[in-house]
């Protein structure tokens, strides 16, 4: 079973989403399932999403051009970003941009090759759920994801410059 970590939640929380890597032409959605579709399929089926019980989520590659996707971020309830390798950090910028540039308010999910030690940074880049690979330590992941983080930069939702808060506190 895939392990989805959400902010402030514990292991094994019910996660309704089913991610499809491919969607064939004759695909018929089940009436009781929430899907995450590849971007091309999502765009093809938009805006009616015939046969889906609700608007599906969408997943995209980390290095994709975001500019043309404004409508996707307005409509999709969930955007998932694929991390091709844990040393490839392009998804950290992609997530931040989706939040910052498009003021995306829905669920932002990271999946793919990730380390549990990266969850703190993922959260600060605006991700609020992560699909943890099987070989990664769940406790560390949860602890990192929910840690109360002191930092010089804040996070993408509440960024600040390093000294700003410290001097206004004087």
């Amino acid at each position: 079973m895939q392990r989805v970590i959400k902010q402030q939640e514990k292991d094994g929380q019910h996660d309704p989403w089913q991610l499809l890597t491919d969607v064939s032409a004759d695909f018929v959605p089940a009436g009781d399932t929430d899907y995450i579709l590849p971007l091309s399929a999502w765009q093809l089926l938009a805006p009616e999403f015939k046969g889906f019980q609700r608007i599906p989520g969408v997943w995209l590659e980390a290095d994709i051009e975001l500019e043309p996707l404004a409508e996707v971020f307005t409509a999709a309830p969930l955007v998932a970003v694929a991390f091709p390798a844990f040393v490839d950090g392009s998804g950290f910028s992609t997530g931040s941009l989706i939040r910052e540039m498009f003021s995306y308010k829905g669920e932002l999910r990271a999946f793919g090759s990730l380390l549990s030690d990266q969850l703190g940074y993922l959260r600060r880049c605006g991700y609020d759920s992560v699909v943890l690979p099987d070989d990664q330590d769940m406790d560390i992941a949860i602890q990192q994801f929910n840690a109360d983080m002191v930092s010089y930069q804040g996070d993408v939702l509440q960024p600040y410059t390093p000294f700003r808060r410290r001097i206004s506190a004087d």
């Binding site: 980390a62 392009s90 910028s93 931040s96 940074y121 600060r124 070989d135 002191v150 410059t161 000294f163």
Partner: protein, 603 residues
């Protein structure tokens, strides 16, 4: 009127009470830097508030950030040692904390932000050398400190020990934003327009544990200067910043992007000639974002930002950055006047005395002292003061190596003569920035005793050299024996002085740790069918202008290198006009004459 005041018992009692209250306040932390400051001769406690007058000092947030990171790293290290964390997963985590595995032992690189260290920090380095290493450490070409013989299981403890003196190893290696480097003469150079250190400190904080930029395609280096002469080689950095003023008198930066050495050496390109200072972080963020999303990850040797800038073209690259900058440069990322003021408040002028400008000590001192004055002492912007370079190029040791004893003595010298602070240089030496001219002779005597006074700064024997094949697992060839051979061949001081300014740098492989590309004479170790060979480059320079050296010809074996060097120097001496420095002669006559001579001897 108050007859009880005349009673001396009341006085004594009151004084005791006051003293008691003072001590309580002091111990309870009212005096903020009590823990961070050693006993300085001749100064009293209360004057010492913010006195390392020229250094950043941590507040509660800095301490928390660093301590949290040490704890996190301790956990990661424990999981690695117990086998829970794979080698592969631990690799980027340990690199982000400055830990390499090399030939004989792990190597820990400690960050020295923009090269500045207090006497107290030097002493702590000495303790680490003695307790966890082999009694010495190494100053790198990016102003950091390296310990070459640490044990994995000690690293977390070392980090704790560093945190006590406000130091860390965060982002000193790995594919992230590295230590920000700067002009080692910041604040004291006569040609300085704006002190770069407050900006370096802001960049240090902003880039430390930035969530978005910890897994970049490749390492990312930033350097900042505020003077006319570039003593930090900013054009060799991924981002180089030079503080300037515009016509309206406002402060901002010239921004260069895409410099670097390694396999494809490149000078950075100017992409903005006036970035207003308030937008510094917003703009850096935009540059890094474009790089993080579009930089290549398929090939390690094509992954630096220089390749992206080159493949897009500077105009296209800067247009992309500009778009990114405009769309996300909101108020939250802009530096306010108050913040900049706060950052500047750490780098105030030390308590300079009014001194007689030419109060130089001891006219009848030995000639060696006068040599040292000429080569190792520079003009200071304040009358009566001088800038002194302590040389780490003593015959018989590896360039940049410094023993724990020397570290302690350097700390003493800094306290006695230079406001208790030093700077590491890109040339692997140490600068005392604020020495009274009248103290120079005494300083020279002390430094000589500690083998820190080799009077050869800027000469051919002020060699910059990486550890090479003796220590480094990546090396193609050794570099230290070349250094030794050269030191022996050119050991006549008068001859060295006649040759004048001449830079020589030796790297053991194309990673170019010694920056051989920017030396007047560069030497690079290459592998030829399993044997150590060396490629020579001529004409590199840094400082007044930056230039990448040109390969002279086919590589040559180890034992031919000293002769080749002598041939190059001979051609220079024959062709030189008066006191011309090597680089001018080279530029005037080109490389062919050198090439003919070097290869005439039949290699």
């Amino acid at each position: 009127m108050f007859p009880f005041l005349l009673d001396e018992r009341v006085w004594i009692c009151t004084l005791c009470l006051l003293f008691f209250i003072f001590v309580c306040l002091f111990l309870s932390g009212f005096y903020p830097y009590s823990a961070a400051i050693p006993d300085l001769p001749g100064r009293t406690g209360l004057q010492l508030i913010r006195e390392y007058p020229t250094m950043y000092q941590y507040d509660e947030l800095d301490r928390q950030v660093v301590n949290n990171r040490v704890q996190q790293f301790r956990g990661q290290m424990n999981r690695y040692l117990s086998g829970e964390l794979s080698e592969e997963a631990f690799l980027p985590l340990r690199l982000q904390n400055g830990l390499y595995i090399q030939k004989h032992a792990p190597m820990l690189r400690v960050a020295v932000p923009y090269g500045m260290m207090s006497a107290q920090q030097l002493r702590r380095m000495a303790e680490v050398c003695d307790r966890y290493d082999k009694g010495y450490c190494h100053i790198t070409t990016r102003q950091n400190i390296q310990f070459n013989w640490v044990k994995m299981e000690d690293v977390a403890d070392i980090l704790d020990t560093l945190a006590d003196v406000e130091m860390h190893a965060i982002q000193t290696s790995g594919n992230c934003i590295r230590n920000t480097t700067s002009d080692p003469l910041a604040g004291v150079a006569a040609d300085e327009q704006t002190d770069p250190r407050p900006y370096c400190e802001i960049i240090r904080q902003w880039s430390s544990l930035h969530p978005e930029f910890a897994f970049l395609p490749r390492k990312f280096k930033i350097a900042v200067i505020g003077a006319a002469e570039d003593r930090a080689s900013i054009q060799l950095h991924d981002v180089g910043l030079q503080l300037v003023r515009n016509a309206a008198g406002e402060t901002g930066f010239k921004v260069w992007v895409g410099g670097g050495l390694g396999r494809t050496p490149m000078l950075a390109t100017l992409i903005w000639d006036f970035l207003p200072q308030a937008h510094l972080l917003g703009y850096l963020k935009a540059v890094l974002r474009v790089y993080n999303r579009y930089g290549r990850r398929d090939n390690k040797y094509k992954a630096r930002i220089k390749i992206l800038v080159n493949s897009l073209g500077a105009a296209d690259f800067s247009a992309q950055v500009e778009t990114e900058f405009q769309r996300t440069n909101t108020e939250e990322f802009q530096l306010t006047g108050a913040e900049l003021e706060h950052a500047r408040s750490f780098f105030t002028e030390p308590a300079y005395e009014q001194l007689d400008a030419d109060a130089c000590s001891d006219e009848d001192a030995p000639p060696a002292y006068h040599h040292w004055l000429r080569r190792n002492v520079r003009a200071h912007r304040v009358a009566g003061y001088a800038i002194v370079t302590l040389s780490l190029k003593y015959q018989g040791t590896a360039p940049g190596d410094i023993s724990s004893e020397q570290l302690r003595r350097a700390a003493d010298l800094a306290e006695r003569f230079s406001f208790a602070e030093v700077r590491n240089t890109q040339q692997q030496n140490i600068v005392l920035a604020d020495v009274k001219r009248s103290d120079l002779f005494a300083l020279w005597q002390e430094a000589s005793r500690m083998e820190l006074a080799a009077p050869t700064i800027g000469t051919l024997s002020d060699v910059v050299c990486c550890p090479g094949g003796d220590f480094c697992g990546l090396a193609n060839a050794r570099s230290l024996p070349i250094n030794t051979a050269i030191q022996q061949r050119f050991d006549d001081l008068d001859y060295l002085y006649d040759l004048g300014d001449l830079s020589l740098r030796i790297s053991g492989c194309i990673n170019a740790c010694a920056h051989h590309h920017i030396a007047n004479i560069g030497i690079l170790g290459v592998d030829k069918k399993g044997e150590e060979f060396y490629q020579l480059t001529l004409g590199g320079e840094t400082g007044k202008r930056s230039q990448i050296g040109k390969v002279l010809g086919p590589s040559i074996p180890l034992d031919a290198v000293p002769d080749a060097l002598e041939a190059i120097v001979d051609v220079f001496v024959e062709q030189r006009h008066e006191d011309e420095p090597f680089i001018s002669t080279y530029q005037r006559i080109g490389k062919d004459r050198f090439k003919e001579r070097v290869y005439a001897t039949g290699h």
